[in-house]
């Protein structure tokens, strides 16, 4: 078994807010991230898949195909969008880096032929990232 990782970037706006809380409570918990006008980041997504190396091609997975799947399922949906206002999964969950990693896992799980999704890593900034290893992990 070998792991293979591919990166992609997207830029998006978001803010942190829980409707069940008062404005003061949102401000206390989320600080400047609770600004309702939103703010934004350049996100980096790392998708790691695991599989066996095909003896004929030497590949775990076709890299071009993986890139196309990441583009179709995630980047084209999230890039240059406001996550709270435009992405269905964040109508009901706060678009934290943790929840973004989980949402991307769900978007990609089962869509990559010949390989198993191992890890989703999402960087909000170079010094902040979240990892998700799947629902049962």
């Amino acid at each position: 078994m070998i792991l293979l990782t591919r990166k992609a970037d997207f830029s998006a706006a978001h803010f942190y807010w829980n409707d069940a809380w008062s404005e003061a409570e949102n401000q206390r918990v989320f600080g400047k991230c609770s600004n309702r006008q939103g703010h934004g980041h350049n996100y980096t997504l790392e998708v790691t898949v695991e599989g066996v190396i095909d003896p004929a091609s030497g590949f775990v997975v076709d890299l071009k195909q993986l890139k196309d799947i990441m583009e179709r399922e995630v980047v084209s949906v999230y890039d240059h969008r406001h996550l709270n206002h435009e992405i269905p999964e964040f109508k009901t969950t706060v678009p934290t880096t943790e929840n973004i990693a989980i949402a991307i896992w769900r978007r990609l799980d089962g869509k990559i032929p010949g390989a198993k999704l191992h890890r989703i890593r999402v960087y909000e900034m170079p010094d902040l990232f979240a990892d998700f290893y799947g629902e049962g992990a």
Binding site: D9, S11, N35, H41, D79, H80, R81, H82
Partner: protein, 144 residues
């Protein structure tokens, strides 16, 4: 006479924006700004690199004290721009917040720094996109 040296420092802030000009039709805005015209905006981690020049102080060995520059930047830039929507800031209410226009606005801020002379300002919108501004009269240089 003290030697003149250049000092550069980087700062970071995260903000959202939307590129849209009310005077243009929706179709024309879409044509010019593409995905940057999406109605709800999007965002970036901006990096601002400022370069100051000045004589190296004989006693401290500094062009300027970085603590002074950091507190100036915190007060005049980061407290106002970080975690905001650029379109809602007073300077962008009637001005489209492209990175070029952001360069000019940030130049106005850093030109007020009293302890050294601003020589260059670089704004990176993403890791692949940087704009340099050298002040009034000098053209903005765009590097992809």
């Amino acid at each position: 006479m003290s030697a003149i040296a250049h000092l550069s420092r980087r700062y970071h802030f995260a903000a959202s924006h939307r590129l849209h000009v009310d005077a243009l039709s929706p179709e024309r805005n879409r044509e010019i700004y593409g995905k940057c015209n999406n109605p709800f905006g999007h965002g970036h981690n901006y990096s601002v690199q400022v370069t100051f020049s000045g004589p190296v102080d004989k006693i401290t060995g500094m062009v300027t004290n970085l603590g002074d520059l950091d507190s100036f930047t915190q007060r005049e830039l980061l407290d106002l721009f970080d975690h905001t929507n650029l379109n809602t800031l007073p300077c962008f209410l009637d001005l489209v917040p492209t990175t070029e226009n952001l360069c000019v606005e940030l130049w106005r801020i850093f030109a007020q720094y009293p302890h050294a002379k601003l020589e260059r300002l670089r704004v990176e919108e993403t890791g692949n996109n940087a704009f340099d501004y050298f002040g009034d009269g000098a053209p903005i240089q765009h590097e992809e």
